[in-house]
């Protein structure tokens, strides 16, 4: 076996990301790695790339155990990674980024830029792309930046290249060119580990495919022996079906929140929609099409340029989170550790923060009342915690998420905004969170959620909005929506991507 990972386990503050995963790769094969959001793919490649150290397990290259002490070790061993996240230096030019770490040496310690440019032009020719080498990366669009990242990954000596969702931001022409290049790489003896949500890509490209699910290894299959349906079944592990029936009656409820022609001057273009009382409305689409900006704008966390927001019929301005909170909104951000909680503080402090003003006289906190409210919320939301003075960092992902939700409840919110409600939450805890959302909705709270998880999108809300290029490109009653129709809307007019599972 050429390259193996054996019995890899890794958890982050209570959440198991990888559980005893073993995988093996042949030399010169294209090996696809698939799984739902949170299946552990990204964690696995970060371990292979030396960015994370596994809790247990080994990495074996050509029969020898190697210790990935850091990213430099992976580079030395010829392992190159195209990360899903932005991995370029905006303050340097294209050519400087591509050859970073592999600058061709000239005389007197100089960099031979002529050589570097020739090298980059050669690389670009192989990939059939052309980008001005002297431009600063900060001036590039998302697709160009992704191409530069791929070029950068290919600039060093590569034995194994890992690509994490490389086509997410690429236009079709460049996707074809990329596939050509991947096949060329394979011919020259390079092992390609290819991560994608788009199963048609997997089937047209890969020799073998491995499936991860909830941090566990499911299996590795010859692509010729399986069908797309098999793959979906292994990835999801269950049929995609309704958890809750759609409640068409909520569409007759009064409108609580109404947006008209919202623009933020950057991403959002003329976004308009209504949210009814007691409704669960989900926004889906491919990541980076304005969903994030939309939900954050509603909570005053990012600025609005044009348009109007009506809250219960009244035109409101929301400049800061405080304005949104005062109107009766609550926000559960996607980045729980950095934005949802102060993890070094206690459950009590976190929970009590937004509603402090409800329990004070002249600035003095009513300690006893605060304690009672916190304890009540903990029992209402079934938060497992040894004491209210426990630091939040000691809680599991699911319980942390419940604390983020609980902190809004004493304010009796009219609208709850969920950004990726189950990101980084164990599978077991996901269902509990869904029931909680449904319970709020039944009590008359309106819920707006942004999710990149296709399963979640098709199972939870009453209504679905799809975003493309900063605006609403599709609207569905959930019972009428199919993955195909959503994917079509998510990729703009015309270009259909028959993907499955979760959207990139």
């Amino acid at each position: 076996m050429y390259f193996e990972v054996k019995h890899i386990s890794k958890s982050f503050s209570g959440v198991v990301a990888l559980d005893d995963v073993s995988l093996s790769f042949e030399k010169a094969e294209i090996h696809a790695l698939v799984g739902e959001n949170g299946a552990g793919k990204s964690t696995l490649i970060k371990i292979i790339g030396g960015k994370y150290q596994p809790d247990t397990g080994d990495i074996i290259l050509m029969g020898k155990k190697v210790r990935m002490s850091g990213p430099h070790r992976a580079v030395e061993l010829g392992i190159s990674i195209v990360y899903q996240e932005y991995n370029l230096l905006p303050n340097l030019t294209v050519v400087e980024n591509i050859v970073l770490g592999n600058e061709p040496a000239g005389k007197n310690g100089r960099i031979n830029w002529e050589h570097a440019k020739t090298f980059c032009l050669g690389l670009m020719e192989r990939l059939h792309v052309a980008i001005d080498l002297n431009r600063y990366v900060s001036d590039l669009g998302a697709a160009e930046a992704k191409i530069v990242e791929i070029l950068k990954a290919l600039a060093s000596r590569v034995e194994i290249i890992i690509m994490d969702e490389p086509t997410a931001a690429l236009p079709e022409r460049e996707v074809d060119a990329l596939f050509q290049l991947i096949r060329t790489l394979k011919k020259s003896g390079v092992t390609v580990i290819y991560i994608s949500h788009r199963l048609n890509e997997v089937f047209s490209l890969a020799d073998r495919v491995s499936v991860l699910k909830d941090g566990k290894y499911i299996g590795t299959y010859q692509i010729t022996n399986i069908t797309q349906d098999d793959l979906v079944r292994w990835m999801v592990g269950r049929e995609i079906k309704d958890v809750f029936p759609v409640r068409r009656e909520v569409f007759n409820n009064p409108v609580v929140l109404s947006l008209r022609d919202i623009e933020d001057g950057k991403m959002l273009k003329k976004v308009s929609f209504d949210l009814h009382r007691g409704e669960i409305l989900a926004i889906g689409g491919m990541t980076g099409n304005g969903q994030r900006e939309m939900i954050r704008l509603l909570f005053g966390a990012s600025p609005m340029k044009r348009g109007a927001i009506f809250f219960q019929g009244e035109k409101v301005t929301i400049h800061t989170p405080f304005d949104a909170l005062r109107r009766g909104m609550g926000f559960i951000p996607d980045d729980r550790r950095n934005e949802g909680l102060a993890v070094t503080q206690s459950v009590r402090k976190n929970l009590a923060l937004p509603s402090l003003d409800l329990r004070q006289t002249a600035g003095l906190v009513h300690e006893k009342e605060e304690k009672e409210v916190v304890e009540k919320m903990i029992s209402t939301l079934d938060i497992t915690v040894s004491s209210i003075s426990t630091a939040v960092s000691h809680l599991s992902g699911g319980n942390q998420q419940r604390v983020v939700i609980a902190k809004w409840l004493p304010l009796h919110p009219r609208v709850l905004l969920f950004h990726e409600p189950t990101l980084g939450v164990d599978v077991g805890a996901k269902m509990g969170l869904y029931h909680l959302m449904r319970q709020f909705a039944d009590e008359g709270v309106s819920i707006l959620m942004v999710t990149s998880d296709m399963i979640e999108l098709l199972r939870i809300p009453d209504r679905i909005l799809v975003f493309y290029d900063g605006t609403v490109s599709g609207e569905f009653i959930r019972s009428d929506a199919t993955e195909e129709s959503i994917m079509a809307a998510a990729s703009g007019q015309g270009r259909k991507i028959p993907g499955i599972g979760t959207m990139p």
């Binding site: 958890s11 503050s13 209570g14 959440v15 198991v16 909570f299 966390a301 800061t320 989170p321 405080f322 949104a324 909170l325 005062r326 926000f331 951000p333 950095n338 934005e339 949802g340 909680l341 102060a342 993890v343 070094t344 503080q345 402090k349 009590a352 923060l353 937004p354 402090l356 003003d357 004070q360 600035g363 003095l364 906190v365 300690e367 000691h394 809680l395 599991s396 699911g398 319980n399 902190k407 164990d426 599978v427 077991g428 805890a429």
Partner: protein, 320 residues
């Protein structure tokens, strides 16, 4: 579902983290007893407390600033400015002490407020902003005094610096502890305190919980300026004379007191209660070093090393 494995901190490190400051204090007291047994008695120790009062008050403000992840390097200049300004304006007239003192507190508040505005509205990093303020205020007191401060300290101002209740307890120490307990109360029992700790622990989550971070930060820097002015009046009363060199050490000393007292630059950890001991330790150290004649050199080096060691140990623990 995986049960979250909580790694309990081991007993010793827990003890060190929470009571380390008192261990340090005890050790230092023992050393001082050995070096100069003649001043190791209640009177001697109270004298150190009296010397520590001014620093203690400055350090309380510094603690609030450092809690929020900032630093206030302008406190030293503010102390000197208020010192020379108050003496130069009062000119030995007892009836002027009260109005001038109030004016001084206002001036200190204003300097701090400007720091706060620079840090929040102009988004200048705290150390650059306060370092610039340090220079500006220093320039101001040079201009005010033309390099030669003058004036006489009247007795009623001397009383708050040197006076003693029942001829035992220094007034300065009472003021120090009063301010400290007031702020401990504010930090732990009021909405303002809760919000301050929320901003300190994680500014982004605090903002998304409806806290007006800028307001909290401005208040924190303003308090730091105000307390520096208050300390300057006490120091003036204690000295009974006027000098341009009075505030020089207060920036570093107050940062040292805070860090030694267990307040960390990140994560909203620590508080005023540790800083009380921190300031006492610094002054005890100063007097010890004076006794063995290496005050100037030794103090700078020891403080520098101490801060580095404590901050370093803390960041190691966090990362490892």
């Amino acid at each position: 579902m995986s049960a979250a494995r909580i790694r309990k901190p081991d007993q010793f490190s827990f003890f060190l983290k929470n009571y380390g400051i008192y261990l340090g204090l005890a050790a230092l007291l023992a050393i001082s007893g050995i070096i100069s047994p003649q001043s190791f008695n209640p009177t001697g120790l109270l004298n150190v407390a009296k010397q520590a009062a001014g620093l203690g008050i400055v350090a309380i403000g510094q603690t609030l600033v450092i809690l929020t992840g900032g630093i206030d390097l302008s406190v030293g200049s503010i102390v000197t400015f208020i010192h020379v300004y108050s003496v130069g304006t009062i000119l030995g007239k007892p009836e002027l002490v009260l109005p001038v003192s109030l004016l001084c507190l206002l001036i200190g508040l204003a300097f701090g407020f400007l720091n706060g505005l620079g840090v929040t509205r102009a988004q200048i990093s705290p150390f650059v902003m306060t370092l610039c303020m340090d220079f500006i205020v220093r320039g101001l007191y040079f201009i005010y005094t033309k390099g030669q401060p003058r004036g006489v300290v009247p007795d009623n101002l001397r009383f708050i610096g040197r006076g003693r209740i029942l001829s035992i307890v220094p007034v300065a120490v009472l003021i120090w502890l009063g301010v400290a307990f007031l702020l401990i109360f504010v930090l732990y029992r009021t909405t303002c305190g809760s919000r301050l700790y929320a901003v300190a622990a994680n500014p982004r989550s605090a903002r998304l919980s409806g806290v007006k971070n800028d307001r909290i930060l401005i208040v924190v820097y303003a308090i730091s300026g105000l307390l520096s002015a208050m300390a300057a009046l006490i120091i003036t009363g204690d000295m009974g004379a006027v000098s341009l060199g009075v505030g020089g050490d207060y920036s570093l000393d107050s940062v040292a007191s805070t860090v030694i007292g267990g307040t960390s630059f990140t994560g909203g950890i620590g508080g005023v209660e540790g800083t009380i001991a921190g300031a006492y330790i610094i002054r005890l150290l100063t007097s010890l070093l004076q006794k063995i004649n290496i005050s100037n050199t030794g103090k700078l080096i020891i403080q520098g090393v101490l801060i580095l060691a404590i901050v370093g140990a803390y960041s190691k623990k966090k990362n490892g």
